[in-house]
Structures are given as C-alpha cells and as structure tokens.
C-alpha cells in the first residue's frame, strides 16, 4: 500500500521534472556507453568498432529511454496533457469557431444551471436545521384553512390535542407545533414613538427551536417554560429582521417591543440561516410562544378551544422507529382523543373510523413553495434539457464540419499509425475543453438568470430565503453537465473522424460532393428542428393559457384600483363605536385627492383569503346527509362599486345597513342558481349555522359572479353581509380597504398611511397594492413557466437557425466547384438558389414531421395545466410551424444567395 503510494509520488515528481529528467537519463546512458566502449578498446578494438559493439551490448537506446520515460512519469496524464495542449492550441487558432461554440454552450448549460439552482433550492435542499432527515410532518399538509369539522387527511391540530400527542408519543424525541398560517402583527419598539410596523410573527410551541436543533445567534431561543400560561411575553427575532430592520443593533436583544399593545421582551436572535419551518417569500420575522396567542391575538383566539384545528406539527422521529410504526400509534391516539370529546370535534363515528393520517418527510419543512413549484420545475427541467440538446447538436455539427475539413490531416495521422482510440480521445478531450469553457460562462449566465427567475417566482415578496449565487451542488451539477455535454457532442465527430479511410482521402482530397459526415449532420438538423418545434408549441400553449387566466372575466375590475391590507387591531373597540369609525374612515379616504370611491371589507378578491361556513335557508330545510354552505364576506357600503362588480338585481349594501337596522345580504348569481333554481331569490332569508339562524339575513340583491380564490375554477357560491351587521367569526372587523382612483395611484401609499393613523394609531398598513398586481401574484408559477418556456423556445429557435445556417454555408463552400460547373453549363442563378434552399430546408421539413407528433404528445402531457385552450390548439400549432419555417428559410437564404452569386470562373479556378 505504502509502496504503491511511494511510486505514485515518485512518478508525479518525475513528471514534474519533465525534460530535465529525460536529459539526465540520456547523460547516464551516454556515460554507460562510453564505459562499455572503453572496455572494448582495452580488449583491442578500434575506436569505431568499440562504439558499435557497445551500442549493441546496451540495446536500443530509444526503447530504453521510452521505457524509462513511461515508468518514470504518468503516461495517461502525459497524453491527456498533450491532448489538452493540442486542443487549446487548435481552439485558439480558430477564435471564431471557439467563441460561437462557447457562447452556444454557455446558453445551453446556463439555461439548465439556472433551473437546477431553483430545483436545488426549492425541492432538494433541506432546511438549515440539525439532522433534517429525521423530521416528519404529522400529516400531509395539504389541508389548510379549515378550522372545525372533519379533515379528509388529518393535518391540523388543536392546541389541547397537540399537548396530548406531544406528551404521549415516545416514538418522537420531540414534537413541535406552529400556526398553519403566519399572521402579521403590528410591532414597535417601546423606547421610541416610532410607527408600528407589521411583522410576520409565527406562533410556535416552546420546544420549536430545540426540536429543529436551531440555536440562537445572540441571546437565547424559546424554551418550554416560555410556553406556559402566565409566562412573561417573549419573542425571538430572525437574523435577517435584526439586520435589516434594526441594523443589527445589539440593544434590541433584551429590549421591549410593543406587539399589538402587549409589551414583549425580545430574548434573542435566531441562527442566521434559519428562516422557519417553511420556504416561502417573506418568511417569519418573529417567533412567539403559542401561550401568548390569547394576549396578542385576542380576537378569535384558538388556543384553548379543543375543537379549533389551527396548528401544524413536525416531529423528530427516534432513529430506531419506523415512520409506519409512529403513524399507526399517532392515528389511534388521535382517534381515541377525538372520540372522548363531547362533540367529537364535528366527526361522525364512521368518519373517525376511516380517518387518514400520513407522516410525510419534513426535511424540507412544511411544503410551501414546493407545492406550487414541483410541477412547473419538472416541466422547465425538460424544457431546458431540450435547449441543451439543441446546443449540443449545433456544436456537434460544427465539429463534424471541422473534422471533414481536417480529413487530410487525420488520414495522415492514421496512416502513420495513430490508433483510433487515441484519435477519439483527442477529439473528445477537445470537445470537453469546449464544454468546460462553455460551462464556466454558463454558470455566470445562470447566476444572472436565477436572479431574474426569483423575481418572477416571488413577485410581490420583499425577501426570498434563496441564494441565487451558485452553491457547491450547483457548481458540481454544472461541471458534471459540461463534461457529459462535451462527451456527447464530441462522440459523433470523433466517430466520424476516426473512421476516415486514409487511402481514399489521400487519393482525392475534398473532391466529392457527398461525404460521410453529411448523414449525421442532417440527422442533427432534423433533431434540432423537431425539438425547436416542441418548445415553440409549449411556449405558445403556456403563454396563451396565462393570457386566458389573466384576461378572463373575473367579475370585478382591476383598472385604477388599489387594495390596502390593514392590520386592524380593533380588539378594544366596543361594537357600538364601529359605525362611526368606519364612517369616518370612508369619508377621510374619499377625501384624498384622486380617490373616487372607497370601501372596507373583510377581504378582497384573489387575496388568498376565504371565509366559508355552513348555512341554513328559511323554508328550504337542509336534506339529511347534505350540507348547505357558502363563501361569505362582509363589506361596507360602495364595495361593489369600488371593485367593479355589477349589480344584477335588487340593491347593493349601502349606508342604510346599520347594526340595528334590518339584517340584509347580497348574494352572487351562483348562490341564486344553486339554492333558488326555480324561484325568486330576492326576499328569501338565510343564516349562518343551523336552522335556528335561517331567518337572520334577508336577500336584497344579486351581484354577478366574481372569482375570489381559484382563477381556474368557476366562481364560488358567495354571500355578502354588511360589515356592521356581520357577527360570526369577527366578520365585523375590516382588514381590507379598496380604493377607486382617477389618475396615478402609485404614490398614494404615504397619504393613506397618514389618514389611517390619524383616525386610529392602531391601524397598521401592511401593504398597499394595485388591484391588478394582487391578481397577478396568483399566477406567479404560470408566469414563470410561460416566460421561461418562451425564452427557452426562442433560444432553441435561434440556436437551431444558427446550426442550419452553419451547415448550409458549409454545404455551399464544399459545393462551390460543382455550382461553378452548373453555372458554366448555363444554370440560371434562380435555380441554384432554389436548389440550395431545397437542400437546406429538407431536414427542417423532416424535423417538422417528426416534431408535430412530439409536440402533440407534449401538449397532452401538460393539458391539465392549461386554461381556456386545448393542448392541440390550432392557432398555437400553426404559429409555431410558421415561425420555425420563416426563421429557418431566413437562415438558409443567406448562404443560398451566396451560392447563386458565385462567379463560375472563380469557382473553377478555386478547384
């Protein structure tokens, strides 16, 4: 073992000493020869004879030197270095070829690296916590927003249930819980009288940090003692928040903040890399114990209600336990606990029996972005691979052309005894060199590209916990991809070149109009055209689908409208004070110059908020086994006018609808269709909850259907209640302001903040957005796919055209003399042009034939993601075909025209 190592070291040393060692050995042999000769002379030979005999005794000097050299150094490395040197020299000698090739590869590899950076960050990279592979989600976290009632797949926990399983499931070393959605709380430092600002504040169990194995950067993290009832209010701040919002001010740690009127001590800053339990744009900025929830969010506190399911849980599984065991144990624990509740948390016995609980790996945390982006990223990976394939085909073609040009040289080398293996090694080395250069440039492009992609993905987010700069896995990926690329595109020309038949080539160098490289060249062009068509069709489909999504009839108008999200901490308000507050607010807002109409509501369309509840309808008893339900929203006067939803019949909610007046409701057309299919809906009554509430609200108006949650689905059945009359679910508290503005709306933010603060200092503006922007943020993943597929499709098209141009130009050069003969014999230049175009376009047409069925199959694969068009949309297909044809004709036309302008005399002399 050691001896082996010693030899390698000696060989490396020998290799490094290079020529010097060779010379020394030559001197040694020379002295040996000298001594032999001297002895021979002593024996009486003539000097000449002595030297000759000496040489014979010593043996072939060249072989000995060669053998010595081989033993002394590293032969494999030696030839590799030779090839690299040779490769670099040839690449330097043809800078045009090299720069085109490197640029092409940079685009191809960069496109893939950018996507991989995202794939790695979003799908592969674990949370920056200790042993992330031991973590499991208790449930499959698909279930959101349901507070009560049965869950199809158990995922949400109530606080009492969480405590039960935390203390009685020894399969987990620790189980932590946290809110399923991160709320914003208004926070200000108690030392200054600065503005309150909204902070994303996550409520977590006391063992949250110890379960993740995450420490504090400064101060301390939360402990179970902080999560006891009656414990002092504490919070841990994220490192980034500390850096950005507080300029890393050390006095923040240990200081007091006012969070929604409650004094809270900041006890520490979490580890810099930690961003919470899920990867999202704008992650949590503060972590506070669950026990402080009733104090910090007094409106609608969930903490002590056994039947409020609002928490996610992640557990650290003990290494000796399998997930299956833990899953079975947890499930029976939960079933027993629910069965023991008086109301069984809304479960029927048969539902409880069939309850599903799935442990899912949580090394990546709670799935946030992963859910939205797994599918698009897979799609984009395929798309970018296509781009790289096309780039590879281009380079392979260029190399093929070069190989043909250097056939003479290769033939000479084969004739002199170069082995085919050695020739292939040399060509492949050269192509890998090219690919590595392209890869290096590609990593740079990918860095820029990733930043752009992140902007697309996180439209509307201030901060994204994803690094665009290439990490080690990304660099490794780019490197591996470059080498693989180099080998792939180097193989074809290496094969073609090494099969050169020296005798033939040397006999009639470059005379024929056909040559062996033409077949692979054409095949590559066909491949390029087919792949380009697939990408163009994909880009067309994705773009059209996005356009349909964005320009559909939403049932509201976004033009000239602003939405203001407010953290309205009105917990202290007596309900009877709300009317005057709302009235004052609306008046103040309307008085802002440019504002034409202002309204308040619980939430607004496409904001990812929804409130739905079971309802009862007077005179229409709910059939057994069925549930009448509706989405609900509470809105102020002028709401429909401000967001541009049309009144169909009756009246809208207006200033008359005070807490004490008759309780009314406006319903959507879908509501009327569903619950009053054959009768007049106006004048009917319904209520939220069981039949005792059926008479609560009288329907006074019907508005057009509007989409509030899912842009791909039909509008939900919805009822709107007057903000001042709604009671359930704290729906009399507004969270949203809508403004219809004439003229520029961008700069109204500060004015709005000022007006709100002057009405009540506890109204914290979370964000001011244009309404169209709020809607657009719902299509981030669709936009990413559409834009990138278009970009990559055009890239592919450009590469394919460059490839086509290259091959066509090369064909013209090779056939110059033939064309000259044709023209000398009287062929008109028009027919030459047509002939060259025909030759160039043949592979493109074949590519179309191959590509069309491929594109159709690809379309079918993404059909479920398309909105408002079929996967075989004829306009998209036709456009793609036309674009491909037009650009390839353009690419082929340039060399074809050159062919048509050839002067026969020059061409023949050139021969």
């Amino acid at each position: 073992m050691l001896g082996w190592l010693r030899i390698v070291v000696a060989r490396i040393r020998g290799w490094l000493s290079g020529r010097h060692a060779d010379e020394e050995f030559a001197r040694e042999l020379e002295s040996h020869l000298e001594m032999l000769a001297q002895e021979n002379m002593r024996r009486g030979m003539a000097p000449e004879e002595a030297r000759r005999t000496a040489r014979m005794r010593l043996g072939g000097m060249t072989q000995i030197s060669e053998q010595h050299r081989e033993m002394h150094t590293l032969p494999l490395l030696e030839t590799l270095v030779q090839d690299i040197r040779y490769g670099l020299r040839t690449l330097r000698k043809s800078p045009g070829f090299t720069s085109v090739a490197v640029l092409t590869l940079a685009l191809g590899i960069g496109a893939n690296t950018a996507i991989f950076t995202l794939v790695h960050a979003v799908l592969l990279k674990p949370l920056p916590v200790a042993y992330p592979e031991q973590l499991y989600n208790l449930g499959d976290d698909q279930n959101c927003c349901s507070l009560g009632g049965s869950q199809d797949s158990f995922t949400l926990f109530s606080y009492p249930l969480y405590k039960e399983i935390r203390d009685h499931t020894p399969e987990f070393s620790e189980i932590a819980a946290f809110r399923s959605h991160v709320p914003r709380l208004s926070v200000r430092r108690s030392t200054s009288d600065s503005f309150a600002e909204p902070f994303r504040s996550q409520f977590v169990s006391g063992n949250y940090f110890s379960m993740f194995g995450v420490g504090a950067f400064a101060g301390r993290t939360l402990t179970p003692a902080d999560d006891e009832p009656g414990a002092p209010n504490v919070a841990v701040m994220s490192y980034r928040t500390w850096q950005v919002r507080f300029a890393a001010d050390p006095s923040v740690i240990g200081s007091q903040m006012i969070i929604d009127r409650q004094p809270v001590t900041v006890v520490g800053v979490a580890a810099p890399s930690f961003f919470g339990e899920r990867l999202v744009g704008d992650p949590a900025e503060l972590w506070v114990p669950l026990a402080s929830e009733p104090k910090l969010m007094p409106i609608g506190t969930h903490l002590n209600d056994s039947d409020d399911y609002w928490l996610y849980a992640i557990g650290r599984l003990r290494p000796e336990v399998t997930p299956i065991q833990a899953q079975a144990r947890l499930k029976s624990e939960i079933q027993q606990w629910i069965a023991a509740r008086p109301k069984m948390s809304g479960y029927r016995p048969d539902e409880l029996e069939k309850m599903v609980l799935t442990l899912t790996p949580a090394s990546g945390g709670v799935r946030g972005l992963q859910m939205d982006y797994a599918e698009p990223l897979r799609f984009l990976t395929v798309v970018s691979a296509f781009v790289l394939l096309i780039a590879c085909a281009n380079i392979a073609n260029l190399l093929l052309a070069r190989c043909t040009a250097s056939r003479g040289e290769i033939a000479v080398r084969v004739a002199l005894g170069a082995s085919r293996g050695r020739l292939v090694q040399q060509v492949v080395t050269e192509s890998v060199l090219l690919a590595l250069a392209g890869g290096a440039a590609g990593v740079g492009l990918a860095f820029l590209g990733t930043r752009v992609i992140l902007l697309l993905v996180f439209r509307g987010a201030e901060y994204v916990p994803i690094e665009a700069s290439p990490s080690i896995p990304v660099l490794a990926f780019a490197f591996a991809l470059s080498v693989a690329t180099g080998v792939i595109f180097g193989m074809a020309p290496a094969w073609a070149g090494s099969h050169a038949r020296p005798a033939e080539t040397l006999r009639g160098a470059g005379r024929s109009t056909t040559d062996r490289s033409r077949v692979p060249q054409r095949a590559l062009l066909v491949l390029q055209a087919a792949l380009s068509l697939v990408l163009l069709v994909g880009a067309g489909l994705a773009t059209e689908s996005l356009r349909n999504l964005e320009n559909q009839r939403f049932g509201f108008k976004t033009a000239g409208r602003l939405v203001v999200r407010v953290d309205s901490d009105l917990g202290g308000y007596a309900p009877e004070r709300l009317p005057s507050l709302y009235q004052e607010l609306q008046e103040r807002l309307r008085a802002i110059p440019g504002v034409q109409s202002a309204s308040l509501s619980m939430y607004s369309p496409m904001e990812r908020s929804n409130w739905a509840d079971p309802i009862s309808i007077a005179g229409h008893p709910t059939p057994p086994g069925q549930v009448f339900a509706s989405s609900l929203n509470s809105v102020s006067a002028r709401y429909f006018e401000t967001i541009g939803t049309r009144l169909v019949r009756g009246r809208v909610i207006d200033e008359r609808d005070m807490p004490t007046s008759r309780h009314v409701a406006v319903i959507s057309e879908a509501f009327a269709r569903k619950y009053f299919p054959n009768e007049e809906a106006l004048g009917q009554h319904f209520g939220i909850g069981d039949a005792t509430h059926a008479g609560d609200y009288e329907i006074v108006g019907i508005v057009e259907d509007a989409k509030y949650i899912d842009a791909r689905e039909a509008a939900y059945v919805t009822a709107f209640l007057p903000l001042l009359q709604a009671r359930e679910n704290n729906s009399n508290i507004f969270h949203d302001i809508q403004l219809l503005v004439a003229g520029p709306a961008e700069n109204l933010g500060p004015v709005i903040r000022r007006e709100l603060a002057s009405v009540d200092s506890n109204l914290t503006v979370i964000r001011v957005t244009r309404f169209d922007e709020q809607v657009a943020e719902n299509f981030n993943s669709e936009r990413l796919v559409a834009r990138l597929t278009t970009l990559y499709g055009l890239l592919a098209l450009a590469l394919a055209c460059v490839g086509l141009y290259g091959v066509a130009a090369y064909t013209v050069t090779r056939r110059t003399s033939e064309i000259g003969v044709r023209m000398a014999l009287g062929a008109p230049s028009g027919s030459i042009l047509a002939m060259m175009l025909r030759v160039a376009m043949a592979p493109v047409m074949l590519g179309l034939l191959v590509g069309l069925p491929l594109a159709l199959a690809g379309g079918r694969a993404i059909a479920s993601q398309l909105y408002g068009l079929k996967s075989y949309d004829s306009v998209v297909l036709g456009t793609a075909v036309l674009v491909l044809l037009a650009s390839s004709i353009l690419a082929a036309l340039i060399p074809a025209r050159r062919a048509a302008r050839i002067d026969p005399m020059t061409a023949l002399r050139y021969e």
Binding site: S31, H32, M35, H68
Partner: protein
C-alpha cells in the same frame, strides 16, 4: 525457441541488482551490469540497458538511492547505492527466495523420483 537462454524474471533482476549493491557498495549502471554478467559467468547475456528499468523501479521504491559522481577514470557517472530499506527488503526477499527455491527443488526432486 532461443536456446536455453534463461528467462529473467523482473523480480529476479531487481533482487540481483540489490544483492550486487549490497556486496560491492555504490556502483554505476555499467558496473552493475558487468558484475551481474560476471557472477552469472556470462550465463545471463542481457542487453545491459535492461537494468535501467530495474534501477528506476528500485529507486521509486526507495530501496536504492542515486547520486552523480566520478568513475574510476574520472568520468561523470551516476552511482547507485543500497538504502536501509533496501537492505531490509533484500534480506526479506532472499529468505523467501530460499524458501521458495527449496520448496520448488523438493517438488521437482520428488517429481523425478516418484
């Protein structure tokens, strides 16, 4: 087949070079080659050049070392000498050589008698 020219195993030549250097002290390549020829009473007619691969091998294993010096008639020549590790290796090899040749000898003898 060449007439009874003993095939020299790679390892055998190495062993002979080591032994030569141990007995005679530092020697140049020519000297080593001459010495092996003499000892074997010219039974081993080798191309003298073939000892160089052997020398390279031994150098790489650090069983011998090399230095330039002046030969008997004042020529520059590279002198090889055995190292401590080389002596140990030689002793080890010699022992196992004797053992093996003993065993082989016995086997061959029983083969002829039986």
């Amino acid at each position: 087949m060449a007439e009874d020219k003993p095939v020299i195993l790679q390892g055998t030549l190495d062993l002979m070079v080591l032994k030569t250097l141990e007995t005679l002290g530092p020697l140049h390549g020519y000297g080593i080659a001459r010495r092996i020829e003499q000892i074997s009473e010219d039974a081993l007619q080798l191309n003298q050049g073939t000892i160089y691969p052997s020398l390279t091998r031994l150098l790489q294993k650090r069983w011998i070392s090399a230095a330039w010096g002046a030969s008997e008639n004042n020529r520059k020549a590279k002198f090889y000498s055995i190292t401590k590790a080389g002596r140990k290796q030689l002793a080890h090899e010699a022992r196992s050589w004797e053992r093996i040749s003993g065993v082989i000898g016995r086997v061959l003898r029983t083969g002829t008698s039986g």
